[in-house]
Structure formats: C-alpha cells, structure tokens
Amino acid sequence: MFAEFLQYVFAGLTSGAIYALAGLGFAIIYNASHVINFAQGEFIMIGGMSTATMVAAGIPLPVAAAAAVLVTMLVGVALEKFAVEPAKGADVTAIVIITIGASIFLRGAAQVVWDKEFHALPAFSGETPIAVLGATLMPQSVWVVGVSMAVIALLWWFFNRTLFGKAMLATSFNRLAAQLVGIGVKKVLMVSFALSAMLGAVGGIVVTPITFTNYEAGIMLGLKGFSAAVLGGLGNGLGAIVGGLVVGIAEALASGYLSSAYKDAIAFVIILLVLFFMPSGLFGKKGTDRV
C-alpha cells in the first residue's frame, strides 16, 4: 500500500521538478516583462533534442549538455529580440498569439532540423534501481530532482546576491525606478529570456533519459509549467516551484489511482479550478484595477 503510494510520489516529484523549472521560467519572464511566454515548453524540447543528437554523434554527455544549454539560450534570446521586443506595447491577446506562434514555429523548425521520431538519452549513472521503503527509485530521478534543486539554488543566488540579479528584481517591481538608476530594461528582458531558456534546457536534458523526447514534446510540458506558475501565483518564484511539485504529484497519484489515460488532463483540471476559485493562486497578491 504505502510502497505503491511512495512509488507514485517519486514519479510525481520527478515530473514535478520539470514543471517547476518550466514554471520558474514563466515567472522570470513574466516578472521582467509581463509577457507569458507560451514557447517555454519548446526550450525543454530543444534542450533535450540537441543533447540527444550530440550524444548520439559521440560527443561526451557533459560537453553535449553544455552546448545544448547554450544553443537553447541563444534561441531564447533570438525569440526575445525578434518576436517579443518588436511587439512592445501590444495588448495581451497579441502577445499571447505571438508567443504561441513562436512555439509552433520552433516546433516546426525542430521537425525540419530533426524529424518526427522519438530521441533517447542513456541514463546518466546507470539504470540500477534504488530500493526505498519498498518502492524503487531510478537513479535518473535522483538526477532530475538534484539538478533541479542545484539550478534553483543558483538562481536564488543570482537574484539575491548579485548586483544584476537584484536589479532584475527591481525592474519587476518598478520599471521607472529601475530606469532612473540606470538599469537597462532591454538588457533585463534579454537576460530573463536567456535564463528561462537555460531552465528549460536543463529540465529537458535531465528528463530525456526517462521520457524520451520528440519535436512536439515541449507543448504539454510548457503548458503544465504554466499551470504550475499560475497555481503558485503568477510571478512568484517559490510559488512556481511548489506549484510544479503539486501538479506533478497530483498527476502521478491520479494516474495511479484513477485513470492513467486522464493523466494529461489533471493539470488542466487543476488550473481551471484554481482560476475559478482562487485566481491569484497559492501565493499571489490580490490586485485592484484602478479606474
């Protein structure tokens, strides 16, 4: 009984960590620009696909992973530069359409650059399961959670201990004030896309040995990351992490105990319930429209 439950929780934590990274990516960009980047999931896909291709070509994993993160960050910066920045001042609907367009464009590009097949990566440290209280834990799941935690810690350090990180936070609170003290909003925007792309790519690389990846793997992961971000309260970093884990675990439990076919629907049911009954999320602040 308990072992089964624990098994589901392990599965949930593993996918939840990826949703948390994606959710964090949404939060960073949202804070910098109030843009919701629907192409966040494509970063996950590109990270996974490029690593898998390079490893298959004989490049050592660490080198391939580093190169893949770099490639994805470049894509992120390009997205900001050529699609988001020119649309400055457009209304929310337009921004939504642009980033969804970017998502579909990247998906299509992946299909052209690669193919429609699934791509795999070998597990980083073997496939010998670890027994924990009657449940089994795959070493790769430890990698996923561990790397996610490391990346999150790194981000925390960046936003709280470095001058530029603090400046980025300042921009999210008060754009004008940030400009007055000489922080370039454009630069902040670009860095936020690079960081989000990095988060996505890292997530994509560590999870590919478990789930495999193909050109359209990003969409669902991205949307679930968005669910995580909204659940936690849009723009709240800690909220996005908690939201990601909650979505991941809820999904794993529901597919274990209820129906595995509806696994993908769980995140959307959660998001609808949150939006209907708790629109500011778990940790979000309530706002009042000024007339």
Binding site: A83, A90, T93, V96, G108, V112
Partner: protein
C-alpha cells in the same frame, strides 16, 4: 441605390460575397478543388463566429476546436449509434454545446488576458483528451465513421452539393454577424472590448454579453462541426486538438480582428495555404507560426483592416 449603400457592408459586402461564392466554382479545374473549397467555407463560418468573440468582444479563446469536435462527435454518435435524423442530431448537438459553453462561460469569462487564454485552452485540451479516451463511445484515437447527411430522405452527396451547403451557410453566417454587430447588442459587445467599466456605467451587463457571444460562437463551431463530420464521413479526436484551436484563432487574426469579412479572408487563405505548400509539408508548422508572429508584429490589425486603412490614406493623399 447610391454609392454609400453599395459600400456598406450589409448590402454591398454581402452581395459581393454571394457573387464570389457563386462564381468561384467556375474557376475550379477539378473535383478536388471542391473538397478544399468546402473546407475553406466551413472554416470561414467557424471564424465568423469566433471573430464575434475574439475580434469584436476582445475575449480570446484557445479552445474553440473543442466545441467544433463536440458538434462533430455529437452528430456522429447520435446518428450512428442512436439512429437520430441528422438535422435533429445537429440541432441537439448545437444545443448541448451551447449549454456547455453557457455554463463554463460564466466563470471563464470573468478572467482576463493570459488567464482567459489558459482557461479556454484547458477546456479545449480536456475535451480533446475525453474524446480520445472514452473509446467505447467515441471510437477513441482511431476515429469513428459518420453516415451521410440526409434531409427528408434526400442525401447531401458529393463535394459539389456540400459546396453549396457551405456557401449558403457562410452567406447566412456573415449576414447574421453583420446584423449583430450593428445592433444595440453588438455595440454593447464592442464596448466591452473598448472599456468594460465604461460600458458598465451606462447599463451594459458586460458579463452577460461576454457569455452570450461565447455561447453563440461555440454554437457556430458546433454546427459546422456536425456538417463537417457528415461531409467527411469519418472523424478523429484530432479535429479538436490544441493545434486546430490555434489555427482557427490565427485565421481570425490574419484576416483582421473585428472584421467579419476579414475572418472569411483569413480562413480561406489559411485553408488554401497547405495546398499551395503541399510539397513543403514539413514546413507547414513553421509557416503557420511565422504568420502568427508576423501578423501581430507588422500588421496587428490584420489583412483586411490594414488594407482598408492604406486605401483610405491613399484616397486622402490624392
């Protein structure tokens, strides 16, 4: 009839549309063109409905393919499994989809911007997953066959017959849309887009109008879904996929938000495009994504309104 009336959308525009759809078949070199044309007409009708919501009402929906698919499956199952006459099945499906949209519309349309996008997208994806999963009723991912559409014993058979059904429906839909937007109801709806609080203080129940137009556009999608199912003879859950919902919104955006004829133009272009790009099938998604981004960046008002503005400027300059 004076020149101003000729140019007024409700008279001149509608007449021009009727003329174009009547004469278009003369240019079709073979039967295959009819098939593509019917799809274009069907998409155009869905987009005219969706434009009422997105373009005039200013409320985005990323889940309308779900309503289209529900209409299609409603007709397929009611006629196939329960032997209901197609017209009754179409009406029943539309009523059910309308009721569903009305019920979910209340809480959903209280949301704005990204949240509204996410909620409608969620509804669409949930519908898609249900259609894929409940295979005992829907046939699952492999799809389900659909009987021919018959009215009083007469079957609508062949793409030519369907072309005239689609053409008639489109002219009717455009007429309805033009009537609505120029009525007190329609002005209230556009006012909701302009300023919700501005509309409220002169007595417009903004929530009611948003739900009403959401429901109306869902019914448009459902009716076309039903007809599409009968015309195609076979449907799969993918007619309700997220990708399809995005495609519909892109048609509206490309043609021109808040322009009924723009929605028609956008639908026709995006339906024909894959045919023109047939040998570049792999690039279809890239082209669609590129159109979405390019339209919003370079021509945010869409094709038809931008064209109209350009003409106005030229006339003013001359």
């Amino acid at each position: 009839m004076n020149a101003a009336m000729m140019l007024a959308p409700r008279t001149g525009g509608l007449a021009a549309l009727a003329l174009v759809v009547s004469l278009a078949p003369l240019t079709f070199p073979n039967a295959y063109f009819y098939d593509v044309a019917v799809n274009a007409l069907f998409n155009a009708v869905v987009c005219v409905g969706l434009n009422l919501l997105v373009g005039y009402g200013g409320q985005i929906s990323l889940g309308h393919a779900g309503f289209f698919a529900l209409g299609a499956y409603g007709s397929a199952i009611l006629t196939g499994t329960y032997g209901v006459p197609p017209v009754a099945a179409l009406a029943a499906s539309a009523a059910a989809v309308g009721a569903l949209a009305f019920v979910v519309g209340r809480p959903i349309l209280r949301l704005k911007g990204h949240y509204l996008a996410m909620a409608t997208l969620g509804i669409g994806i949930i519908i898609h997953i249900v259609l894929k999963t409940e295979s005992q009723v829907t046939g699952g991912p492999d799809g389900i066959g659909v009987d021919a559409f018959t009215v009083l014993g007469l079957a609508v058979a062949g793409d030519k017959a369907w072309y005239w059904v689609g053409a008639g429906l489109l002219v009717f839909a455009v007429w309805i849309s033009l009537n609505l937007i120029d009525s007190p109801m329609g002005r209230a709806l556009r006012a909701v887009h302009g300023s919700e609080v501005g509309a409220e203080v002169v007595g417009v129940d903004t929530g009611r109008y948003k739900v009403l137009v959401f429901t109306l556009s869902a019914v448009f999608a459902s009716v076309v879904g039903s007809l599409f199912a009968h015309k195609n003879g076979f449907i799969t859950p993918d007619i309700g996929s997220f990708f399809r919902s995005i495609e519909l919104v892109t048609m509206v955006v490309l043609g021109g938000m808040a322009s009924t004829f723009g929605a028609v133009v956008g639908a026709v272009i995006l339906t024909l495009l894959p045919q023109l790009l047939a040998s570049f099938e792999d690039y279809e998604a890239m082209v669609l994504g590129g159109i979405m981004m390019g339209t919003m960046i370079f021509m945010p008002k869409g094709l038809l309104p931008s064209l109209r503005a350009a003409l106005k400027r030229r006339r003013a300059a001359a």
